[in-house]
């Protein structure tokens, strides 16, 4: 079949959907939507439509990226702008169906806003403060198309870039990508064009293409959302690269924790094959290309290129010494082009709209957009895509809505276990590969975690190092023993056994590990510790010298305490939930925590009614007022 015919059919299907008299209900059903109950919402829509005999179409889309408003439902009804409903629950569905679909009440009380202007119906989403800074290239279709229907992607311009590429020579495609200034979105920011050029020059054949979707950083979920919401954008990018390299076999290496992404990818691959856009003799050009989804088995280190390739070969995922680089000696010892999910998703944009367009976005040396997963103590958790060069402040405050519950901002952790924590003074840093590295953090895979005054920076460093230590493969000495040593020093510090010389020791060990490790995991593992020492040294000192955790997090340095004056004497919430029976009643009827029995589970603090707020955390422990625990006879 000719591409024009495929495109015509796809557009016809899309048009009939958009201009039909029947309303269209788009429900986000990516993993995080599902966690908030999106499938139940789908079910109740189906029931209600059937019960009231309303004609409407339900489309399960991916995620728009507004995680705090999920489940998100977008309803398009003729004569109305598309309306976006937030936090939809099954209870709201009858109102929406009866009120809006049957009658003409758009139920604006449930709405986040509209997607088209006019009607004077505020708020208009593209005019929200966040929209001003956002630019969606990678996330262009996310949340609006059915990821399991290739026609939606094609109708919105999908695969035209590939068809355009078929008319170009490999050199022309390479030149376009080089001119665009695209840098690897996996974190290191290596120029994609340069990588592609090396792979083209490599003599050995066959050549392989690999999409690295082993998104292992805790707190990062951009790749998952892209794969679940718009898998074809990644496939198209891979096919274009495959065509350029005259490669015939490629792999998407994805985490096994992402079953939905795997399902949707497999469906997408099947559909592309059926239309002749993938497989043997693509569109009659004689070019053949296959994509296989390979599921990892839960090893963070397999995000490293050489480890990932060994894993596909069925071996232990050990990184190896480089050079030779995997671009020359990669999978099965053959030249291999490996790129991140988002890098591939950028390729169709570059080919279709031109290098000039792409390089007009972003900063001097970092072109295009940056996709971040905003999480932690921030109002608007979710995905953010902004032009490179946007400042941290704009992302955190204008898009993210600032720190949750009006608390004070303490720091932002960028780049996951390989990145660093930046304090308030760095909020004007612009987001691009070089500025972030200069500040001590790194672009990394794109996790951005906001921390408030309740987060202990020593604990955060401990958390990340604990993660890298567990995930370290144990091949090189610095990774195996160096990180372990740093870890045990940190453990001493958080448990109150820190010594004054520990800080210097951590810095010197950290620098050695950065120099002496074999792979990227080891080289970047000390970053969270080194940056927190650099910017939050006072917290380390408080832990070591005063045995005090300023944020009241480190359990060995805090105690729970019930303020007698605030304790409402008739209530028993804390007593009932205490698992260790550490809370007893004083003869004067207020409750007292027996510190010797307390296991610091935090239940009492959680259940103490907000109107009393009698339970507090105290650090250092020596500050706890002398015990008022009544003796056995008093009880």
């Amino acid at each position: 079949m000719k591409f024009e015919e495929i495109q015509r059919a796809a557009k016809a299907e899309w048009e009939s959907l958009e201009h039909d008299q029947a309303p269209v209900i788009r429900i986000g059903t990516a993993t995080s939507d599902r966690a908030s109950g999106a499938l139940e919402v789908v079910e109740s829509f189906e029931k209600e439509l059937y019960r009231l005999n309303v004609e409407a179409k339900i489309i399960q889309t991916g995620s728009v990226g507004f995680c705090n408003y999920e489940p998100l439902v977008i309803i398009s009804k003729p004569d109305y702008p598309r309306i976006c409903y937030k936090n939809v629950t099954p209870d709201m569905v009858p109102r929406l169906v009866e009120g809006f679909l049957l009658e003409d009440d758009p139920c604006m009380e449930f709405a986040l806003g509209t997607l088209e202007g006019g009607n004077g119906t505020p708020p208009y989403i593209p005019e929200l403060p966040r929209s001003e800074h956002e630019l969606r290239l990678v996330l262009r279709n996310c949340g609006f198309i059915d990821p399991e229907n290739i026609n939606h992607y094609i109708a919105l311009g999908g695969y035209t870039a590939f068809v355009k590429a078929l008319e170009m020579t490999a050199e022309e495609i390479l030149e376009e990508i080089k001119q665009s200034g695209l840098r690897g979105r996996g974190g290191a920011g290596f120029p994609t064009g340069k990588k592609l050029e090396s792979c083209m020059k490599a003599r050995e054949t066959p050549k392989y293409v690999i999409c690295n979707a082993d998104e292992g950083d805790p707190g990062a979920f951009m790749d998952r959302v892209v794969l679940e919401s718009d898998p074809h954008s990644v496939l198209e990018g891979m096919i274009i690269i495959g065509y350029t390299l005259n490669s015939s076999q490629s792999y998407i290496y994805t985490r096994m924790e992402y079953p939905l992404a795997v399902d949707r990818l497999k469906t997408a691959i099947e559909q592309a094959k059926q239309l002749g856009l993938l497989g043997e003799d693509i569109l009659g050009t004689g070019f053949s290309f296959n994509i296989e989804v390979f599921q990892g088995a839960g090893a963070f280190i397999c995000g490293e290129s050489s480890a990932l390739m060994y894993s596909i070969e069925g071996k232990r995922g050990f990184p190896r010494v480089k050079p030779p680089r995997s671009i020359e000696v990669g999978l099965r010892q053959k030249p291999t082009q490996l790129n991140n999910v988002k890098t591939f998703a950028c390729i169709p944009v570059i080919i279709e709209q031109g290098a000039e367009y792409f390089s007009s976005i972003g900063s001097d040396r970092s072109k295009g957009t940056a996709v971040f997963a905003l999480a932690g103590k921030v109002e608007n958790v979710g995905l953010v895509e902004v032009p490179m060069g946007t400042t941290l402040k704009k992302v955190i405050y204008d898009i993210g809505g600032g720190v949750k519950d009006g608390k004070g901002f303490k720091g932002v952790q960028i780049g996951g276990p390989s990145g660093g924590c930046l304090p308030e003074a760095f909020l004007d840093t612009s987001i691009d590969f070089d500025s972030l590295t200069e500040a001590g953090a790194m672009m990394g895979s794109g996790g951005m975690i906001i921390m408030d005054e309740d987060n202990c920076m020593v604990d955060v460093a401990h958390f990340f190092l604990d993660f890298t230590q567990k995930e370290c493969c144990g091949k090189c000495v610095m990774g195996r023993l160096g990180i372990k040593q740093m870890m045990s020093i940190l453990e001493d510090i958080v448990s109150g056994d820190g010594r004054p010389e520990d800080i210097e020791q951590l810095i010197s060990l950290g620098e050695d590990i950065k120099t002496g490790s074999l792979c990227g995991l080891g080289k970047s593992a000390p970053n969270p510790v080194l940056t927190t020492i650099q910017y939050f040294r006072d917290e380390y000192e408080a832990h070591i010298l005063e045995k005090r955790c300023p944020a009241l997090v480190c359990r060995d340095l805090i105690a729970y305490y019930i303020i007698p004056e605030k304790c409402y004497r008739g209530c028993e919430h804390c007593v009932l939930t205490c698992p260790s029976e550490a809370i007893v009643e004083h003869p004067k009827r207020f409750k007292v925590i027996d510190q010797s029995k307390c296991i610091k589970c935090g239940n009492c603090l959680e259940v103490c009614p907000p109107e009393y707020n009698a339970v507090i955390k105290i650090s250092p422990i020596s500050q706890v007022p002398p015990s008022e625990v009544p003796s056995k006879d008093e009880q």
């Binding site: 993993t31 292992g216 707190g219 998952r224 088995a297 839960g298 963070f300 958790v381 975690i449 589970c601």
Partner: protein, 181 residues
């Protein structure tokens, strides 16, 4: 009997794969999918199919966190320990789970009903802290919600009966909490 089923299932699984060493990880994943863990016999069988030694198979299987060598509970519990969950107090929830189930991370209850594992991140950071039992995701967990989440599964398992006094007390307590929340 047990051995026979392992054999039978395994022959079926292996029939779908080429005798190629690079298929090892997908094969092990299928085996684990079928048995919920990697039985020793199954690994030996895979080894002889691919022409690999026992230690080579074990070497690969033990490298990856996903593979387990002990059975999974009927209700496998996974506590997310990603950054967002950690900062929202995930550790306290994990400890509450250990306490309520009386097992440690990686363990399984005596009756085989519950097993407890930690995972690095399931990517639902907006709902932190997150716990997963089977396929169901429990968002915004707290130590005191652990009991509540487990109660129905426990009743189902016959571990506690709904009429039990202890249970009644616990449910009362939950009601009080619900009212307050």
């Amino acid at each position: 009997m047990q051995e026979k089923t392992v054999r039978g299932k395994l022959t079926e699984i292996l029939a779908g794969f080429k005798k190629d060493r690079s298929r090892l990880i997908p094969i092990l994943q299928r085996v684990q999918h079928a048995f919920a863990y990697l039985p020793r016999d199954a690994m030996l069988e895979v080894g002889s199919y691919l022409g690999m030694t026992d230690v080579q198979i074990y070497g690969v299987a033990s490298f990856y966190n996903h593979f387990r060598f002990t059975p999974l509970g009927r209700h496998p519990i996974k506590m997310c320990m990603g950054t967002a969950c950690h900062m929202a107090g995930g550790r306290l929830v994990l400890e509450a789970l250990e306490r309520v189930l009386d097992i440690k991370v990686g363990g399984i209850t005596e009756n085989g009903e519950f097993s407890l594992d930690r995972v690095a991140c399931i990517g639902c950071c907006g709902l932190a802290p997150v716990m997963v039992i089977g396929e169901r995701i429990y968002p915004k967990m707290s130590p005191t919600k652990v009991d509540e989440a487990l109660v129905n599964l426990k009743i189902e398992a016959g571990e506690v009966s709904p009429a039990n006094d202890d249970q009644a007390a616990k449910e009362d307590q939950i009601k009080i909490l619900d009212k307050r929340l």
